[in-house]
């Protein structure tokens, strides 16, 4: 993961923020979350399996505890966005446009090293990013740039899948706010699913929701 370029990390961060904010629109219809649902986050070093992080949080617990956190940017289970803009992007408007748009593939970028795909289909938002880069280990081992260029390319993949209901819930708090609690409820009501999968040369990251209280 530490080999990933800043662009990819930035994109992952942005998608994570979007994922977090996508959790809340159908809050009115879904007053309670499924008490058996757990959100899992697993980060593993692919080479050395002894380096792992596993986080398991019951959705119901998160829904009840989040509103009690009073922070500058997180209050009453809602994340405040500074004027709804992040690096000049009106996130709220962008998500709202996406929500109301028809199914289709919105962004497709194909280049020698990267591919990006953003699509909406059957009530889900898909974001797939693939980045190919020379293995740094090979480059370091050989010690010259030409060898590095010719070395086998390593793929880094980011796959995000988010129910549009969660996007709706996220936007339900109005402008400048993302309702995380409502989004969690919507996510819980959606059932078991994998939300985020990141795989690169060094590590794998997985975020999913299911009814098990262990991250296996």
């Amino acid at each position: 993961m530490n080999q990933s370029p800043r662009g990819l990390l930035g994109f992952v961060s942005a998608t994570a923020l979007v994922a977090c904010s996508l959790l809340p629109t159908l809050a009115v219809a879904q007053s309670s979350s499924n008490p058996d649902q757990w959100i899992h986050v697993r980060v593993e070093n692919r080479e050395d399996k002894t380096e792992t992080v596993r986080v398991n949080v019951p959705v119901d617990m998160a829904v009840k505890v989040l509103p009690e956190i009073k922070n500058k940017n997180l209050c009453d289970g809602k994340v405040r966005i500074d004027s709804g803009r992040i690096d000049g992007i009106d996130l709220h408007t962008m998500l709202d446009a996406l929500r109301t748009a028809k199914d289709g593939e919105y962004v497709t970028v194909e280049s020698k090293d990267d591919s990006v795909r953003v699509a909406k289909s059957s009530g889900y938002l898909y974001i797939h990013v693939t980045e190919k880069k020379p293995s740094e280990k090979t480059a370091k081992a050989t010690g010259d740039k030409d060898s590095a260029k010719n070395a086998a390319l390593k793929e880094s993949k980011v796959e995000v899948k988010i129910p549009m209901k969660v996007v709706d819930a996220l936007l339900s708090a109005g402008k400048d706010q993302l309702d995380v609690v409502a989004a969690l409820r919507a996510l819980s009501a959606n059932g078991d699913m994998e939300l985020v999968r990141v795989k690169d040369d060094d590590s794998t990251v997985r975020v999913w929701i299911d009814s098990k209280n262990v991250a296996n």
């Binding site: 757990w38 002894t50 380096e51 019951p58 009840k64």
Partner: protein
Amino acid sequence: MIFLAKAALGLGATMAVAGAYVFHDGVIRVDFDENRPGGSHVHFWVPATAVASLRLAPRHCLEDAAMKARPFLPLLREISKELEKYPNGEFVEAQDLSGRVRVAMVNGKLEIDAVGDDQVVHVRVPAETIRNVADRLEDAAPGI
């Protein structure tokens, strides 16, 4: 002789009831070890009842603690309430070559383990005790 027997029976029964009451909430266990020459080693077990009721704490200390913890008491109360719903579950596990951290509920107790190269910490606290402490602190800091 009969008087002595009655007295012994009464004393024994009282001790049994007192023991049952003292330990009915379980036990809080704290282990702390520094794995270096001259390092500290702290190990103690405390009946959860003694901590949960906070009866032993001086009132002014309790009020002071309650005022300082005031912003976080609703959060503490909600977390403790929720923890009781999950008597067995692992919340956080992180490990690398230098150590391991684990936060889990096991049989209704919150278990926190932090094992590093030179320090080891184990804490076991019944979830009910956390809620009782939150309640007592709220009582000491009215208006929350």
